[in-house]
Symmetry: C2
Subunit: 271 residues, 2 copies
C-alpha cells in the first residue's frame, strides 16, 4: 500500500533518521473512510502540538492534506499512520542545529475487528507492565513505545481486545492503544494523564468543554476497585471509535446504551 | 562512511522497521582503534543480553565480527554504532510472530574531544530532566532515548562536557551518554541502575568481582550532597574511557590520579 516520505512515494528511510536512532519523533494513527479523514483538524492540531512539545517543527497542514489526498486516491478506506521525526542527524543526542523534520504517511488495511465488539462489548485484561511516570513526555504520542510493546506481548488470546495499563501508584491510565472512560451514575470519568499515557484525539473531543454528547465528564484518578465498581467502561481511539467493555476477569458489564449513544455522537462529529 | 545493514552496504531502512515505528530495538556505541574493537566480547555480551531482555533474537557474534572487520578495512579508527531492531512488522504493538531482527552497523568519525579533558578533567552540570523509573527497561541500551535527547538539549555551551541526570527521588543515575562514579576515601561508588539508566560496558568492567584496578567498588544511591562531598567524580563510557570531573557548578575537584590510574588500567584491559 502507499507510503509517502515527504510527499514522495517510497518505502525506505535514511539510517541516520533520528526517529530510528532515538525514537525522536511523534506519530498519529487514524482512518480514511470513503476518502475522508474524520476529525482531520483535530488530528493535525494534536500532531503539531506533539511536535512542538519535542521542539520539532510541525509539517504544514497543507502538505499533510496533500499526502492524505494522494493516499485516498488509491485507498479510500484504510488506516493511516502519520509519523514526523526530527529528521537526519549525526551521532549523539544533541539536536542538529538545522534539523529538517521528516514526514512519513503510510496506508495499511483497516483492522478487521469483529462487528459485535462495538455492539456487544469486548473482553479486556489487566497488564502487569507498569507505565513509568514522565511528565515531560506524558500525553505526547511519541515514538518511544517500548512499554506498549512489552504490555501487548503479555497476551496472545485473540478474544482479548485490549490490555489495561496503570502507573506505579495503582492508577489506571490507558489501554495499550486506546484511552479509557468509566461510567459512574451517568458521568464519564477518564484517567488523569499528567504523568504518563497518550492523550488521544477521541478522548480530547469527549472531554472538552461544550462537547455535545450530553454527559458530564471528569478527569480523575481511577484505581482497579473504582473501575470494577463502575457502571460501565469504554475504550476509545481513532480506529475503534468507542467500544463498550463487557468483561474484565470476573467482572461483567451489560447494557451498553451509553457506548452506543457515544458511537452515534462520534459518527456525527466525524461527519 | 560505511554502513552495513545485515552485512550489506546500504544507507536506507524499510519504513516498516519496528526500530523506527516504536524504538523497538537496542544499540551499542563503541570505537575501532587501529582496526581493533576494544572489549568486543563484553560489547557482544551486552548487546545480546539487551536483545534477550526485549525478546529479540541476538545476532550471531560471527556476523557482527564480520561487519566490524569490513568496517575496519575502510576505517581502522572510527566510532561504530551497532543497532539491532526487532525487524519489520505490520501496524500494531504486537510482536510479529516470525520477526526477523535487523542488524545495522555504521561507522562515524571518532569524536574530537579536547585532549586535556581526560588529563585535567571536564566541566559538568546538572540536568533538570528527571529520568522515569521503569525497572522493565532499566539498564538496557534500547532505542527509546527521548529523555536523553531532552536532557542534552538543556545546554549549548561546548565547554560543558556532560549533563548529570537523576531520578524522581533525587538520586543521581548517569550522564546523558555515560555512567558515573564518585570517589569516597579510595572507594569507587556508582549509582544503582535497577530502576533507570543504562548499564554500560565500562561501568560493568569496573564493578565486576575480580576487576584488577585495585579499588573497592560499591553500588549505592548517590544524591547531590553526597556527590558534592565526594573526593572526586568520574565519567565513563566506551568512547571517552574515563574522564575525571574538574568542575560541577561551584564545586571544583583537583588531583586526578585515580582517573589516570583507571585510564591506564582500561587501556590494558582493552589491550
Amino acid at each position: 500500500m502507499v507510503i509517502l516520505i515527504d510527499g514522495q512515494p517510497g518505502n525506505q528511510l535514511p539510517v541516520d533518521d533520528r526517529g530510528f536512532a532515538y525514537g525522536d519523533g511523534v506519530f498519529r494513527t487514524l482512518s480514511l473512510r470513503g476518502g475522508i479523514t474524520p476529525l482531520l483538524e483535530r488530528h493535525y492540531a494534536k500532531l503539531a502540538g506533539d511536535c512542538r512539545a519535542l521542539g520539532i517543527r510541525p509539517p504544514a497542514e497543507a502538505d499533510l492534506r496533500a499526502d492524505l489526498a494522494q493516499i485516498a486516491d488509491r485507498h479510500p478506506d484504510c488506516a493511516v499512520r502519520i509519523t514526523v521525526t526530527r529528521g537526519s542527524g549525526g551521532r549523539g543526542y544533541a539536536m542538529p542545529e538545522a534539523a529538517q523534520p521528516r514526514r512519513i504517511v503510510s496506508a495499511s488495511s483497516l483492522p478487521d475487528y469483529p462487528a459485535q465488539w462495538s455492539r456487544d462489548g469486548v473482553t479486556v485484561r489487566y497488564c502487569s507492565t507498569i507505565l513509568a511516570s514522565q511528565p515531560l513526555l506524558a500525553g505526547i504520542k511519541h515514538l518511544n513505545r517500548l512499554e506498549n510493546v512489552l504490555a501487548r506481548a503479555e497476551w496472545n488470546d485473540p478474544q482479548i481486545a485490549e490490555g489495561l495499563l496503570g502507573d506505579s501508584a495503582g492508577h489506571l491510565i490507558e489501554g495499550t492503544r486506546c484511552n479509557l472512560f468509566i461510567i459512574e451514575q451517568g458521568t464519564l470519568v477518564t484517567p488523569d494523564l499528567s504523568a504518563c499515557g497518550v492523550a488521544g484525539v477521541i478522548r480530547q473531543a469527549m472531554i472538552e468543554p461544550g462537547a455535545s454528547h450530553g454527559f458530564s465528564v471528569r478527569i480523575d484518578h481511577i484505581d482497579r476497585a473504582r473501575l470494577e465498581n463502575a457502571d460501565g467502561m469504554l475504550l476509545v481511539n481513532s480506529l475503534i471509535g468507542v467500544w463498550p467493555v463487557a468483561r474484565l476477569g470476573e467482572r461483567q458489564w451489560t447494557g451498553f446504551s451509553v457506548a452506543h449513544h457515544l458511537q452515534e455522537w462520534l459518527d456525527e462529529l466525524a461527519g
